[in-house]
């Protein structure tokens, strides 16, 4: 039992890293732009399909393919921000939910038309290869996925906390109006933040596509999980998204061993509700006082 629990906890940490990566884009976009991008799940699935195409057509490994898909998704993100988000001048927070939901439906429709509703998976050699660890085995794809998440999240933290542009992003996250007043190009920062969010979706999508069979409808389940992560972590907090993703996946995997797999999600939501009762702003969120 102890070995099984340890295995579940390790697997939870490794898969939690992947969810942290996918949720980081969502929370970054909220922090900078104050919009909830409910299309993030669909964009992750789009990323998975891009990796699928590269892998099936040109036999490019999904991890290597990120050199193509991440820049491509970054550019798509910048364009989407310019076309769909920037025109929203009033009631931005509410309207953005509708706009990004429409975006998700549009992506789902196009993917369904091109790829049909069939489930796809990326069958790479390391999805059955494993390494021994503490007396049990861990599938290599989870190890590679976690390493990728560490690298990308590490780079994201470096950009945010060690560069001038990162300072501009953080300033915009803290107070959009004040940032504008001191000369920061918040529109430009927003477009780049949206692009970064898409690039992380591409990376998350590649790992998601290897570990899970997916089809164009898979984004519904995914976005509900990602929203849960950023609510628990605190909207707009990158550190919160990472911690919350790890809590969610470790809790679920351990609960599936201790109780039963079908109760794992329930146990996590009990924890979520308990945290929100004590800290409504989430683990690392900041209480905002709104003027009425």
């Amino acid at each position: 039992m102890a070995s099984q629990l340890l295995q579940a906890a390790v697997l939870g940490v490794l898969t939690g890293g992947v969810y942290a990566l996918m949720a980081s884009g969502l929370t970054l976009i909220f922090g900078v732009m104050r919009i909830i991008n409910v299309g993030q799940g669909a964009l992750v699935i789009l990323g998975a399909y891009l990796s699928f195409v590269l892998f099936n057509t040109w036999h490019i490994d999904p991890f290597l393919g990120l050199l193509v898909t991440m820049p491509a998704m970054f550019l798509i993100g910048v364009v989407l921000e310019l076309v769909f988000i920037r025109p929203l001048k009033t009631d931005r927070e509410s309207l953005s939910v509708l706009v990004t939901y429409a975006l998700a439906l549009g992506i789902e429709g196009v993917l369904g038309f091109v790829f049909t509703a069939n489930y796809r998976e990326l069958s790479v050699w390391y999805d059955t290869a494993s390494v021994p660890l503490f007396g049990f085995r861990i599938t290599l794809v989870y190890v590679f996925g976690f390493a990728l998440c560490l690298a990308i999240l590490g780079a994201l933290f470096l950009v945010l906390y060690r560069t001038t542009f990162g300072a501009a992003i953080r300033a915009t996250m803290l107070n959009r109006t004040a940032a504008q007043l001191i000369g920061i190009d918040v529109e430009g920062v927003s477009a780049v933040a949206f692009g970064i969010g898409m690039a992380t979706a591409a990376a998350g999508g590649a790992v998601f596509g290897i570990t899970t069979a997916f089809n164009p409808n898979s984004h519904y389940d995914l976005i509900s999980r990602l929203l849960t992560v950023i609510v628990l972590g605190g909207l707009g907090s990158l550190r919160g998204a990472v911690v919350a993703a790890l809590i969610m996946l470790v809790t679920q995997d351990v609960a599936s061993v201790i109780i039963a797999p079908e109760w794992s999600a329930f146990v996590f939501f009990v924890i979520l509700v308990a945290v929100l009762l004590v800290r409504p702003e989430g683990l690392y969120g900041v209480r905002v006082r709104e003027r009425i």
């Binding site: 099984q4 295995q7 579940a8 697997l11 049909t116 509703a117 069939n118 489930y119 069958s123 999805d127 059955t128 290869a129 494993s130 049990f136 085995r137 599938t139 290599l140 899970t212 069979a213 089809n215 995997d253 599936s256 061993v257 039963a260 797999p261 079908e262 794992s264």
Partner: protein, 400 residues
């Protein structure tokens, strides 16, 4: 005022009567057979295999002059593996497209709602893949399950084989989708093995919707059971095996209700690791049943590949055509009511062997379902010895 109203009612009456009756072909004119198939979604690989079987039969029967002289056209509509869509499809096939006959879709899950719609219009509903107990519980007279045995008996041969082994395996782990096709098979196998004293160390049902199967695979692997019995469709069949490979858990024997019978769709993802994996099967390419050699050779000629690539679904669909062909000859009619009467009596020869049907459409007196095992890169009948091409590999070889 009253006369136009009466005329309107009469017109409605005529329209409703026309909708309620099955379409009759003109003398020796072409006929259309409608089928809702899962060409996309969860069951898409099975749906496409069924289409191959139906197409092959239609080509065969047309080459022989048609079904009682009627050239057969097949009309397929995609149900996307959806319970709602399959009902709409049969409703439209019958009332809008006015097809002459209908054949069944894939899975008990879709056949059950579809058969309710089809029965409402008094169409015969021969079907290749809906054999769960719930299919027959409703007592519909129009449905006919064209496989050698009712689904809940699919693992009976396997349990007999397990109990014949010496020394007998000590422990079994079970995991199954909560699906009307898979769960009854696994539950019956469990009841038989429990009664014989083989210890159950894990039993779990899980959602038939695509989920993360890792926790279930992990629990099965952790049980270290000698025998693993899984109630799967193709995606979870692959997921479980991949987990077992990556965690180097190699049970002495493993059987999956569906997945290993999917030919290249299964072996293409696992390669040499298919070796030793079992599946209950009523059909194999090497069987000597009625017309099987012709079916296999024509299938390869039409679709390419090799005999081991042929999905059992295709053979089951082809059998539906064979049964209807013989029933039409027996009734000397392709009227649905006469076909239903004919199918309730007599025995019909198929590539899966001979079969007849009871009053609820359940197959009777068939040859039973055997054990097929992947050996040397192809699925072969391995049990019972009366049909076995090769003896079962036991214990199964280590993963590659």
């Amino acid at each position: 005022m009253r006369r136009p109203l009466l005329t309107l009612f009469a017109a409605f009456g005529l329209i409703l009567t026309a909708c309620g009756s099955s379409s009759s072909p003109t003398q020796a004119g072409p006929i259309t057979i409608g089928v809702s198939l899962s060409l996309t979604g969860d069951f898409s690989s099975d749906g496409k295999a069924l289409q191959q079987g139906y197409d092959l039969w239609a080509a065969d029967v047309n080459a022989r002059g048609g079904l009682l002289g009627h050239h057969v056209n097949m009309k397929y509509v995609d149900d996307a593996s959806s319970v709602q869509q399959v009902q709409t499809n049969y409703q439209n096939l019958i009332t809008v497209d006015r097809v002459n006959l209908v054949f069944g879709p894939f899975s008990s899950k879709l056949t059950i709602p579809a058969s309710t719609v089809v029965d409402r219009y008094s169409y015969a509903f021969p079907e290749p893949a809906g054999g769960g107990p719930d299919v027959f519980k409703r007592g519909l007279r129009s449905i006919f399950f064209v496989q050698p045995a009712a689904v809940e008996d699919n693992l009976v041969s396997y349990t007999k084989w397990i109990l014949s082994l010496s020394p007998r395996p000590a422990t079994v782990a079970y995991a199954t989708e909560d699906d009307p096709f898979t769960q009854p098979q696994v539950d019956k196998a469990k009841a038989l093995l429990d009664a014989a004293g083989v210890t159950s160390v894990y039993y779990k049902t899980y959602s038939s919707e695509p989920i993360d199967w890792t926790p279930y695979a992990q629990a099965v692997a952790h049980s270290q059971a000698d025998v693993v019995i899984l109630g799967t469709q193709l995606p979870d069949a692959l997921a479980f095996v991949k987990y077992f490979i990556s965690h180097q858990y190699n049970p002495k024997t493993i059987i999956e209700t569906t997945g290993p019978d999917q030919g290249a769709d299964f072996s293409g993802k696992l390669g040499a690791n298919t070796e030793g994996i079992m599946v209950p099967a009523g059909w194999t390419a090497a069987a000597t049943a009625y017309g099987n050699d012709t079916f296999v050779s024509k299938f390869i000629a039409k679709f390419g590949g090799k005999a081991s690539d042929i999905s059992a679904d295709a053979a089951e669909a082809y059998s539906v055509g064979q049964v209807v062909d013989q029933a039409a000859s027996k009734a000397n009619s392709i009227e649905n009511a006469k076909l239903i009467d004919a199918l309730h009596s007599g025995t019909y020869n198929t590539v899966q062997g001979p079969m007849s049907f009871d009053s609820t459409g359940k197959p009777q007196g068939g040859v039973g379902v055997y054990i097929e095992q992947w050996q040397g890169g192809e699925p072969v009948f391995a049990y019972p010895s009366s049909v076995a091409k090769k003896p079962p590999e036991y214990p199964k070889p280590a993963w590659h």
